[in-house]
């Protein structure tokens, strides 16, 4: 799975996700990447989210929307909300994966409960950071 979240000069957030799903999946299986609120979500009032991992669990936990909901209704920061969704909801269901979530102030949360996740980000000055492993 691949995904991206962005914040433009007008303060607008967007999120996108694209995937081939699970190796050896049953034909016709649809994962969270195609389900709004499960693997992808964006709302200028809260954050933009893209996820990767075991899609069935992200669907059951409605993980992407939960991050936005925790920010909206519980006033959590994007980092707190993303951590709660991955280490709480997703892990609680037995799922594994990760998330990138960007709020309207340009604060980024990168959370995963696996050994690694391919990831990177660029700041407003064009400085690029790329990471792969947990450390």
């Amino acid at each position: 799975t691949v995904g991206a979240v962005a914040l433009d000069r007008r303060g607008n957030l967007a999120a996108g996700t694209s995937t081939g799903g699970l190796m050896g999946k049953l034909p016709g299986r649809v994962g969270d990447s195609a389900i709004i609120g499960a693997g992808t979500y964006a709302d200028n009032a809260t954050c933009a989210v893209s996820t990767t991992g075991q899609g069935e669990y992200f669907i059951r936990g409605v993980v992407a929307h939960e991050i936005a909901a925790l920010m909206k209704y519980a006033s959590l920061s994007v980092q707190q909300a993303a951590s709660a969704a991955i280490y709480g909801t997703l892990a609680g269901l037995g799922g594994q994966g990760g998330v990138i979530a960007l709020d309207r102030n340009g604060q980024l949360a990168v959370v995963f409960n696996t050994e690694g996740m391919y990831r990177g980000y660029v700041d407003e000055h064009g400085h690029i950071t790329i990471q792969i492993y947990r450390d």
Partner: protein, 172 residues
């Protein structure tokens, strides 16, 4: 300092012990290229939607990631692709699932969002819509790289279940 664009590939059992320096460099270059393409859009005053699409297209075209070319295969050895996009300003969204011939599913998801009253199109109907919209169509073989064929073969040989509860590994 504000972050303006972030991207991800798959999450899973990714450790230094499993990665050669050459392979790691390939991943880093692909991720860097995706960030540069997306950032260039934002720097030119483009929208966050355009930046997201620009970054994801790079990753879909790279054989390293499980999306577009390089996608994993279903039980029948076919690449079936899903993609979604969402606009935080309007809460509009577009998605496609189970497409097998659309080169860049993220472009199709965006057309669903912008050119239909719907959110999700699937399978053959989604592919017919892609043709109507003039998107690039490719044979399914375009998406399939030798490494994925081998992975599916190993999966079959090991008799590993395909539902998450039974799988010993995932591919994001």
């Amino acid at each position: 300092v504000r972050i303006v664009l972030a991207i991800h590939g798959g999450a899973g059992t990714i450790t230094r012990a499993q990665m050669t320096p050459e392979r790691e460099q390939q991943y880093r270059e692909a991720l860097r290229q995706a960030l540069q393409e997306g950032y260039a859009v934002l720097q030119a005053g483009g929208s966050s939607l355009d930046a997201v699409v620009a970054a994801i297209r790079v990753l879909e075209d790279s054989p390293l990631f499980n999306a577009g070319r390089g996608a994993v295969l279903n039980r029948d050895g076919v690449a079936e692709l899903d993609a979604t996009i969402m606009d935080g300003r309007t809460l509009k969204a577009g998605a496609v699932a189970g497409v097998q011939t659309v080169k860049n599913p993220i472009l199709l998801a965006r057309r669903v969002m912008e050119a239909t009253p719907h959110v999700l199109l699937i399978g053959r109907a989604a592919e017919a819509f892609a043709q109507e919209q003039g998107l690039e169509i490719v044979p399914n073989e375009y998406f399939i790289v030798p490494e994925r064929r081998l992975q599916l073969q190993r999966l079959r040989e090991q008799g590993i279940g395909i539902v998450p509860e039974e799988a010993s590994s995932t591919y994001g």
